[in-house]
């Protein structure tokens, strides 16, 4: 089984974000691996260990992604492709999906594993659109995976009314949720070995395509402005005797907020 996992470099969401003149203030930002992609990488590594899968990752954009990709190598991924091109600066999900389509077609993959969304956009579309472009079956929001045989896997998807059990015929695309596994922490030995591994760097031309073909010169949508979130104000906080303050709060819920 040949697996392609996608890994995106994203801004660290735990830090404070500032907006100035409609743009994000880049100063002081830090960049990390998208959390859901770490679960995708872990899923791929487990399939390598338990089922002899061959693992490749692809990362698009982000400038210097060496650290991110090396970290994934240390987590068990064998090959890494980094596609970057000035034309991709304003890429939306469908452009990413077109680039991934090119990467997919250049390999001979059985399973594409993406994180279910990226922490910088929170869009959750790329993997699903990729599957449409490739005409492959796709299940999103996957929380468990089991290999049936060379051609079939069984996945659990967290859906609206419960857990959906879906049998997929490979090749297929899945997007995984954080609850599918606990991504391993890279170990010293893996980190040392990762330093020696090569990363295949490509621009769109090297990938055999162009800005025009992937739609990069005419994005379907573009972010024109960032704005600060309207954050809630802290209200009244009560400390002291539990019976007293709880009675007070219930009174406020009933008579001030009028919600009970």
């Amino acid at each position: 089984m040949k697996i392609l996992t996608t890994v995106k470099k994203v801004v660290d969401v735990e830090l404070n974000m500032h907006v100035k003149d409609g743009a994000l203030v880049e100063d002081g930002m830090q960049y990390v691996t998208n959390a859901w992609d770490e679960n995708a990488v872990e899923t791929a590594s487990q399939l390598k260990e338990n089922n002899g899968a061959e693992t490749t990752l692809v990362s698009i954009g982000g400038g210097d992604n060496t650290d991110i990709i090396r970290r994934c190598y240390a987590m068990g991924i064998e090959n890494g492709i980094h596609v970057d091109d000035p034309a991709l600066e304003k890429a939306d999900s469908s452009i990413y999906a077109k680039v991934l389509q090119k990467v997919y077609e250049a390999g001979d993959y059985d399973l594409v594993i993406t994180g279910k969304q990226a922490q910088d956009t929170d869009s959750g579309q790329t993997g699903i659109i990729l599957a449409e472009y490739l005409g492959l079956p796709c299940v999103s929001n996957v929380i468990a995976l089991e290999v049936i045989d060379d051609q079939h896997i069984k996945v659990s998807r967290s859906g609206d009314t419960g857990t959906e059990i879906v049998e997929l015929t490979l090749p297929a695309v899945i997007s995984v949720d954080v609850s599918i596994n606990e991504p391993r922490l890279p170990q010293m030995r893996g980190i040392m070995m990762a330093k020696k591994k090569k990363i295949t760097e490509m621009d769109l031309a090297a990938l055999g395509t162009s800005a025009d073909e992937v739609g990069a010169d005419a994005p379907k949508s573009e972010i024109i402005e960032f704005m600060a979130s309207q954050s809630r104000q802290a209200g009244q906080k009560f400390e002291g005797d539990a019976a007293e303050i709880t009675a007070k709060v219930v009174d406020l819920l009933a008579n001030e907020a009028k919600v009970i």
């Binding site: 579309q125 699903i128 609206d160 979130s229 009970i260």
Partner: protein
């Protein structure tokens, strides 16, 4: 004139509140409206769909659509969108919508925007507002295509009182099943539970409740209030709560009148799922817990002590009302 197709949200045969909300918004922007309803045994919903504000009802009613499968559902939406000539295709916020919307967009070569809070039309120019980076910022996004497929966040639009549409049913032919992604079964949780997405009050439990006994205590409070019972991710990961009870960025996005966070710290990923609530009450023993930064009312205390008092005081107030 813009043409809005709303994808009806139907769960266990019941039409959910997102459908009238989205149709109201569509009418408010002066669009012509249609709805597409997909499922098994749903034809009886037609009067309700028209009453919610649609002037055409595309109905895909087939036993094969009983279990949710994204491929066939997308095919029905695309079919309806083409027949109607829709420029805007709107979904309510759900896991199903998030799986279907990008497929529809790809098939119609349309732009796709998920988790939108607002939409504006200026002539032909469509713009949406949506949160990003775990709700830390908002984005204004310009749509460059004629068509937009959008998933709208819970609580973004309000249903207008007193609107209604007209009945005009168009039956869709049943879609082909997705044989390469066969849905074997759906393991549903306890039925009869109040759906988090449209509960008026939601009570959520966090790691502070420690174990099953703690969860049962908090569940008692939810039951007393006839509230939806949700959870932070910590309790889902701990195996105590079902995955679809999780409130937050990776789970349900809720916007009830009252949200009670019991033993929840208030991580940004949790806040992303509930900060649209009208009133927030937090119970936490740590006075510095970030949940207090968003709570209208905060009780600093041990939940094992506070929850029974809450129940008792609520009972007293209810008896007086």
């Amino acid at each position: 004139m813009a043409k809005v197709l709303v994808v009806a949200e139907i769960k266990q045969g019941v039409l959910k509140s997102s459908t009238p909300e989205l149709l109201s918004k569509a009418r408010a922007i002066g669009a012509s409206t249609a709805v597409v309803a997909i499922g098994s045994n749903i034809e009886s919903l037609v009067p309700e769909l028209a009453g919610a504000g649609s002037d055409t009802q595309y109905i895909a009613d087939d036993p094969g659509l009983e279990l949710f499968s994204a491929g066939p559902v997308a095919a029905c939406v695309v079919d309806a969108a083409r027949q109607f000539g829709a420029s805007l295709i709107w979904f309510g916020f759900s896991e199903s919508s998030k799986a279907v919307a990008p497929r529809v967009a790809a098939q119609l070569d349309a732009a796709c925007a998920t988790e939108i809070n607002d939409i504006s039309l200026n002539g032909d120019q469509i713009e949406v507002i949506r949160p990003a980076i775990t709700n830390k910022v908002m984005q204004r996004v310009k749509v460059n295509t004629e068509k937009l497929v959008a998933v709208v966040r819970a609580g973004a639009f309000e249903a207008t009182e007193g609107i209604s549409g007209t009945e005009n049913v168009v039956k869709l032919s049943p879609p082909e099943m997705d044989l390469k992604a066969l849905v074997r079964e759906i393991l549903t949780d306890a039925s009869g539970e109040i759906d988090l997405a449209d509960a008026d009050i939601v009570v959520s439990v966090g790691r502070g409740a420690k174990d099953q006994a703690g969860i049962d205590l908090v569940r008692g409070l939810a039951d007393d209030l006839h509230a939806g019972f949700g959870s932070s991710r910590a309790m889902v990961d701990g195996g105590f709560m079902a995955h679809n009870k999780q409130v937050g960025q990776t789970g349900k996005i809720v916007a009830p009148t009252l949200y009670m966070a019991i033993g929840i710290s208030g991580a940004i990923q949790h806040l992303a799922g509930m900060s649209g609530s009208k009133v927030i009450l937090a119970v936490n023993k740590d006075p510095e817990a970030p949940i207090f930064n968003v709570a209208d009312y905060g009780i600093v205390g041990d939940l094992f002590e506070v929850v029974p008092i809450l129940q008792e005081e609520i009972r007293k107030i209810k008896a007086k009302q």
